[in-house]
């Protein structure tokens, strides 16, 4: 090996460190790739799975690469998004709900409820972190993409229902934390 200066060695060390982090971060793909594949197996349209699944994988990989805190946010986001991913698919299979003679798509309320669960879970996890807002944002983005893979069964209304649910689920946790602080 050729003799190198300390500055060259430091630069090489930094490159190796970033490579190592990328390798370590790639573990999150073990979580997100099966999700995208199962969405495809459940009959979600291929272009949608490619776009949303691809975005989910890239986002998760980037977040885990940046910091361990965001790797935890990815895990929390995927877990939080799982009900939103699975419930609409299951509910859709049961058919339409009839309320006062009118047919209602059950996916809308299911997405909303799954969103509340996701928002609540992510907010609770964020309370344990040092940088709560960035953790919450990262986890919510991952949860939204995970959930959208499933709840877009109900179209854009399902996605909006999920996001509304996330906000509704987050609000009480934030309020409680603020009240404790004051």
């Amino acid at each position: 090996m050729a003799m190198v200066t300390e500055a060259q060695l430091e630069r090489r060390g930094r490159r190796m460190y970033e490579l190592g982090r990328a390798r370590w971060a790639s573990h999150v793909l073990l979580l997100t790739l099966p999700l995208a594949l199962s969405a495809w197996a459940l009959g979600r349209p291929t272009p949608l799975v490619l776009v949303l699944g691809g975005a989910l994988c890239v986002l998760a990989l980037t977040l885990a690469f940046v910091h361990e805190r965001y790797a935890r946010a990815v895990l929390a986001g995927v877990l939080a998004g799982l009900p939103a991913f699975a419930v609409p698919v299951v509910v859709r299979a049961t058919g339409s709900l009839w309320l006062s003679g009118a047919a209602i798509d059950p996916c809308l309320p299911a997405s909303f409820v799954a969103g509340i669960l996701a928002g609540g879970y992510v907010s609770l996890r964020a309370l344990d972190e040092g940088r709560r807002i960035s953790f919450w944002l990262a986890a919510v983005c991952v949860a939204a993409l995970t959930g959208t893979l499933g709840c877009s069964v109900a179209g854009s209304a399902g996605v909006l229902g999920l996001m509304a649910g996330v906000l509704v689920g987050t609000a009480p946790v934030v309020l409680r934390a603020e009240m404790r602080r004051s």
Binding site: M1, V4, R23, H67
Partner: protein, 181 residues
């Protein structure tokens, strides 16, 4: 390295493992000299030690994200360096095993092989170190014996003195090397 520095390094390594890039510089500047010294001592070859320390440091950074927060960073780094030093030694031994006949024929018959020369140099250095630990009277007696002083200087007193000096030299050699051969 004192306890405070060690604690600082431990904190910096934990931060780096988590993804704080700002902790890279302190980890690098503290660990690099430690690995250099360790490899120098293990290999007794400055160039090989430099290479081994470099490789160990690169591997350490490659695996930095896997560092466990409850682990000791110095022990962890020395683990990488030990592995590299062992690899260098193994490579050296293998290279020696694969010296072909042409290589052996190139060594003049009346000249020591590089390996024998190295052994002689080591023995000479060890002997000089031991002689330095003897008393001046013993050294004088031994020099007389090695210089082959004439019969005038070989009375019973002188012989006895040389015998004692040689005995002390033998004891010192045993102490340093564990055997008298």
């Amino acid at each position: 390295m004192d306890a405070g520095q060690r604690e600082q390094l431990q904190l910096a390594m934990r931060a780096l493992a988590a993804g704080d890039r700002a902790a890279f510089k302190p980890v690098f500047s503290t660990l690099w000299p430690v690995l250099r010294v360790f490899c120098d001592r293990a290999l007794h070859d400055s160039d090989a030690a430099h290479d081994a320390a470099q490789t160990a440091l690169m591997k350490l950074f490659m695996h930095a994200a896997e560092f466990r927060a409850d682990g000791d960073v110095i022990a962890w780094a020395i683990g990488f360096a030990s592995f590299e030093c062992l690899s260098v030694r193994t490579r050296k031994v293998r290279r020696r095993e694969h010296v072909d006949d042409a290589g052996l024929a190139a060594v003049p018959a009346d000249q020591l092989s590089p390996e024998d020369a190295l052994i002689h140099a080591d023995l000479r250095a060890a002997a000089l170190e031991l002689l330095g630990s003897l008393r001046p009277q013993d050294l004088e007696a031994l020099r007389g014996a090695f210089d082959g002083e004439g019969p005038a200087a070989s009375g019973p007193t002188v012989r006895k003195r040389r015998q004692r000096a040689l005995e002390r030299l033998r004891i010192a050699w045993r102490k340093a090397n564990g055997h008298g051969d």
